[in-house]
């Protein structure tokens, strides 16, 4: 998009008569009527770049509706004046402190009254939606008679990610508008639905580009009222069908979200199964269920996780002015990092010694883009930006160089010696190293202050977290720009100091090694993994080790043992033997498990794990977090929690390892660790800082 389009772009957003109208009596809403008597109502939340449904937004809406009732227009068009999207949802900050379910119910009931008033408005209403339309925003749109999507609008109910379900009428209205099974699917998974799919579901009535919004909206409010519902929806909403469907939904939910940890999906299923046949009952029950969920620990912790994510996102707030990235090393990590950057608009040169890894990287990129892209030209443009660079020419014009070659100090130093002289002045040299201290890597560099670590996790497209590794000579500006770069590729930066294993690998290693100690004690691998999954980890340590690769685990373990001044579990001979035999895990089809079609073959009737097994696996992870805080590897416990959740999937409903420690009780954990130390070995000795934690 060039200069000319940028100047004209603001005109593209069709705001009708309200676009040029004055501010009016409300802070967040603007209302104006056009020559045909159709009213346009714009939400432009004051002092915010995105619209959220805070209490005062809803209060003002109530006032607007009163005005419209007293002087009804021919029709009402509702849209957002924010370029980014429609409405992002409720104002989560307002939820944060609430502990009294009754108070929540009262607030919600008031909010429902406003939304119901919009629904009952006797004039034809149409919501015009561009960009994101999530949670409460979607509920507002559902309260309108029709919905028009602009181009790439996307819709979703992400409440389940916060341990909740829709609470502003979404559970009532959505299953009556579209196939209830699809509606429940949306609410149970929290996944976004793109405009085209929304249209085929019946969630929106038509998709238009901005230039036809005015004509389409006018035609919609003046045209015939659309028929809603239909036989299929009636049938699926009937009592018996709901019962059947609910059973299936519970079984599906149990696969990903066990009820002990994640009550929300089951509450939603219960809600629909019980009350799905009656609108008034459903509405009351929705409010009550939402209020109950809001005050659960799970929800509070998930809301905390939401804010942890926002906090990490905030660290990426600065500016990274460059457009060109050069990646050295087209292996699994390098190739995928390059593909991800190209997708997010950077021109990326990907260098390697041989053409075959480059070809494979292009193949994987094409596959990835096919999965996440909706339009053919987006895929084509991203592939145009991903440039295989056998001769390494791209270094000279790169604003950021990412080194992702194998983990050998000599090799990396050689690469830097060849690369640094060719780099642009001010360009950043970033390394994806997971185990080599930056203090060693920077030796011999002309500008060690421009060396920073950016440690990605595998797979790059799904693991949001990236450790940004600093050392005592790095420039603050370089760190800030590296974080801003990560923001531009939609990753979360976690600042860490250069120390063996940084945070995440250092925390995961005792998790995996202890599992192998337990293996050699005779505990079954399925039992060990179950102990961790029961706690809330997405994957048990044995399965994780196989997934990462036993050779990599071994390497990391040995590096940490050598580098850290702290007892660790002995590296089990099982691990060494497997690596020597070439049974490296998932990538070779056999490791600690047998792998078929990318899934481990697990025995069905393995014995159930004991709570002590869970503690033996999880508490050392928490202990590492404490140690990292004490050593200053990570600045604060919020960053620790965020990093562990977004890099390892550490039970998010527990709020992160440090939050878990405080919730469970610092004293209790410390005592347990001492007991384990006596029974199982020095490696469990708690870090000195446990005495100072509050």
């Amino acid at each position: 998009m060039g200069k000319v389009w940028d100047v004209l772009a603001p005109r593209n957003l069709e705001l009708g008569p309200a676009g040029s109208a004055g501010q009016g009596p409300w802070r967040h809403w603007r209302l104006a009527r056009d020559e045909d008597g159709i009213a346009w109502l714009l939400l432009d939340k004051a002092g915010a770049s995105a619209n959220t449904l805070s209490e005062d937004v809803l209060t003002e809406l109530n006032d607007v509706l009163a005005k419209l009732e007293s002087d009804p227009p021919k029709g009402l068009v509702l849209r957002s004046a924010k370029p980014g999207g429609f409405i992002a949802g409720a104002d989560i900050g307002e939820f944060k402190g609430m502990t009294d379910a009754a108070a929540v119910e009262a607030r919600l009931t008031e909010a429902h009254a406003v939304v119901d008033r919009l629904d009952r408005l006797a004039v034809p209403t149409v919501a015009v939606i561009h960009g994101y339309c999530l949670g409460g925003g979607l509920e507002i749109a559902l309260a309108c008679d029709s919905r028009i999507a602009v181009d790439d609008a996307r819709f979703g109910f992400p409440e389940v990610m916060l341990g909740l379900h829709p609470g502003l009428g979404g559970t009532v209205r959505l299953p009556r508008l579209i196939n209830p099974l699809e509606a429940m699917g949306m609410m149970l998974t929290g996944r976004n639905v793109h405009a085209r799919r929304a249209k085929s579901l019946g969630l929106v009535d038509t998709i238009v580009p901005e230039r036809h919004v005015r004509a389409a909206a006018t035609a919609t409010v003046t045209g015939k009222k659309a028929k809603r519902g239909g036989l299929l929806i009636e049938i699926i909403n009937s009592t018996y069908a709901r019962k059947l469907a609910a059973k299936r939904m519970r079984a599906e939910a149990a696969k990903k979200a066990p009820i002990e940890h994640y009550p929300a999906p089951y509450a939603l299923i219960d809600l629909w199964e019980t009350h799905g046949g009656n609108v008034q009952d459903m509405q009351k029950a929705e409010i009550a269920s939402f209020a109950r969920l809001l005050v659960t620990d799970t929800s509070r912790n998930l809301v905390r996780v939401f804010f942890l994510r926002e906090k990490l996102k905030g660290l990426a707030d600065g500016k990274f002015a460059g457009d060109r990235i050069h990646v050295i090393g087209a292996g699994a990590m390098g190739g995928d990092i390059a593909a991800w950057c190209a997708w997010h608009g950077f021109t990326v040169t990907l260098a390697d010694m041989k053409p075959e890894p480059l070809a494979k990287a292009v193949e994987r990129a094409t596959e990835l883009y096919g999965k996440i892209g909706h339009k053919h030209i987006d895929i084509r443009n991203a592939l145009d930006r991903l440039i295989p660079d056998l001769s390494g020419e791209g270094v000279c014009s790169a604003d950021l160089v990412i080194e992702a070659v194998p983990e050998t100090l000599d090799l990396k130093r050689k690469v830097y010696a060849a690369t640094e002289p060719k780099m642009k002045p001010g360009a950043i040299l970033a390394t994806n190293t997971s185990s080599i201290p930056l203090q060693e890597l920077r030796e011999g560099l002309r500008r060690p202050d421009h060396l920073v670590g950016v440690h990605f996790f595998n797979p790059v497209s799904r693991m949001q977290l990236v450790e940004v590794v600093s050392h005592d000579q790095v420039a603050d500006d370089v760190l800030a720009r590296a974080r801003a770069f990560l923001g531009r590729i939609d990753r979360l930066p976690a600042p860490v100091k250069s120390a063996p294993g940084f945070l995440v690998n250092r925390a995961l290693t005792p998790y995996m090694l202890e599992a192998m100690v337990m293996l050699s004690e005779g505990v079954k691998r399925e039992t060990i993994d179950a102990a961790a999954v029961q706690f809330g980890m997405p994957m048990g340590p044995i399965e994780l080790a196989d997934t990462v690769g036993l050779d990599i685990c071994l390497h990391v373990a040995e590096t940490l043992k050598a580098g850290l001044d702290r007892p660790m579990p002995d590296v089990s001979h099982v691990l060494r033997d497997k690596v020597q035999m070439g049974q490296l895990g998932r990538k070779t089809g056999k490791g600690l498990y047998e792998w078929k079609k990318g899934e481990p073959v697990k025995e069905r009737d393995a014995p159930k794990p004991t709570p002590e097994m869970t503690d033996r696996l999880i508490l050392p992870m928490v202990d590492v977090c404490v140690a990292c805080l004490r050593e200053g590897v990570v600045a604060d416990s919020d960053t620790v929690d965020g990093a562990m959740i977004f890099a390892t999937g550490f039970a998010p409903f527990r709020g992160g390892p440090m939050h878990y420690a405080r919730t469970r009780g610092v004293a209790e954990i410390r005592q347990l660790l001492w007991q384990f130390a006596q029974r199982y070995g020095e490696r469990f000795r708690p870090d000195p800082d446990w005495n100072h934690l509050t």
Binding site: V4, L8, R11, P209, R211, A219
Partner: protein
């Protein structure tokens, strides 16, 4: 090339020198047909300009017919040539039907099959969908970078500059009436040559003209590119047609040597580029650059030919020149440039009635500008056009 030949013959006949006196031939052509590779050379030979006549074809989409003039002008200025025949030709009616890739692959397999069994297997792979051709014309009029067709870019401009359906229809009607009037008054004499086809038919005027067009009639048409709410229709867009145009450019020396009468001089030319999705604004950028270079205001230009790709696109250009924000932020001026008077713009109609044979239009509007300026006693004029792909071309011409 039949059109290019039919158009070139009368022009060459009129000259006091032989056809082989030219130094070279440059022809703009977009839809080059498979059996007429390098149409400039084909035309040159068929026009009897001699085997020694070098010729090449230029392609910059809609600007091709103007590019040939611009290249000729620059070659002559450089001193390399003295006399150049520069033209544009297009036969959109002969745009090919294209087989899909799947069909082509099937054909290759079939022709590559050596033995009976392979052939049987190959034939068995035949699918009905192979017979559905892709319209070459449709693909040609769709921008591959932004995946919008030309009509859609006009829709975007109509939105950004508040051009209504009625505005566009009104402009189209006026254009048709002006063309009808010009045809009736014989204003194209000497410029438009009748074509004699081998089946005995004579084509002496462009039959796309609708003299009794009205806004009410046009209002009944459905949107051509974006239904149901689009503003661009077949009635307020240029027509897809065939055509050819030639212009002779000569150095001062050649004019003297050959005893020619110069009608105008090219003072300057400029090409501009912008986002393909708003390609219709191309003329505003390049024409303004020329005016700035020569210290000219909008009102100083006595006559304008702004190619009528779409009525909405022409109106958007006029609106842009009158738009304070656009002039300040995009053109770098102190404020809006103003409005071009309707009676100085496309005075004898344009592509809406005449058609837009893509490679020829740029050439035709320069030719017509010169003739119209002569007729009306105007000294300075600009011919400019938008170019698919996001460009624009403009020429500043003075009559002598």
């Amino acid at each position: 090339m039949d059109l290019a030949v039919a158009c070139g013959r009368p022009l060459l006949l009129r000259q006091p020198f032989a056809p082989d006196a030219f130094d070279q031939v440059i022809l703009g052509c977009v839809n080059v047909l498979a059996d007429e590779m390098n149409p400039a050379r084909v035309a040159a030979l068929r026009l009897g300009m001699g085997e020694a006549m070098t010729a090449f074809t230029v392609q910059i989409n809609c600007g091709s017919g103007m590019q040939s003039i611009d290249t000729a002008y620059r070659y002559i200025r450089e001193g390399k040539s003295d006399l150049i025949l520069a033209g544009g030709a297009e036969a959109l009616s002969r745009a090919p039907l294209i087989y899909r890739k799947s069909a082509v692959d099937w054909y290759s397999r079939l022709f590559g099959a050596r033995d009976l069994w392979s052939r049987v297997k190959a034939i068995a792979g035949l699918r009905p969908s192979f017979f559905k051709p892709v319209l070459g014309l449709e693909r040609g009029l769709t921008d591959p970078v932004v995946e919008l067709n030309m009509g859609q870019t006009a829709e975007i401009l109509a939105h950004l500059f508040h051009v209504s359906r009625r505005d566009a229809d009104q402009y189209a009607v006026e254009s048709q009436h002006r063309l009808a009037h010009a045809q009736k008054e014989g204003l194209f004499a000497g410029e438009l040559e009748p074509t004699f086809a081998s089946d005995g038919k004579v084509y002496d005027h462009d039959d796309g003209v609708r003299p009794d067009s009205t806004v009410e009639k046009l209002a009944e048409l459905k949107p051509a590119f974006e239904r149901p709410w689009g503003k661009v229709t077949a009635g307020n867009s240029s027509q897809i047609t065939d055509g050819a145009s030639w212009v002779i450019l000569a150095s001062e020396q050649a004019v003297k040597k050959r005893g020619l009468t110069a009608r105008a001089v090219i003072v300057d030319s400029e090409w501009s580029a912008l986002d393909p999705s708003i390609m219709g604004l191309g003329p505003v950028l390049c024409a303004t650059a020329i005016m700035q270079r020569h210290g000219l205001a909008l009102g100083d230009i006595g006559l304008w030919e702004l190619n009528e790709a779409f009525a909405a696109q022409v109106l958007a250009c006029l609106a842009a020149w009158d738009d304070d924000t656009f002039c300040r932020k995009v053109l770098g001026l102190n404020g809006a440039m103003g409005r071009i008077a309707r009676d100085k713009l496309n005075v004898d109609g344009g592509a809406i009635g005449l058609g837009h044979p893509v490679g020829a239009s740029g050439n035709r509007i320069v030719l017509h500008l010169v003739n119209a300026m002569k007729r009306l006693g105007v000294r300075q004029g600009i011919a400019t056009e938008c170019i698919g792909g996001g460009q624009g071309g403009a020429m500043l011409i003075e009559t002598v």
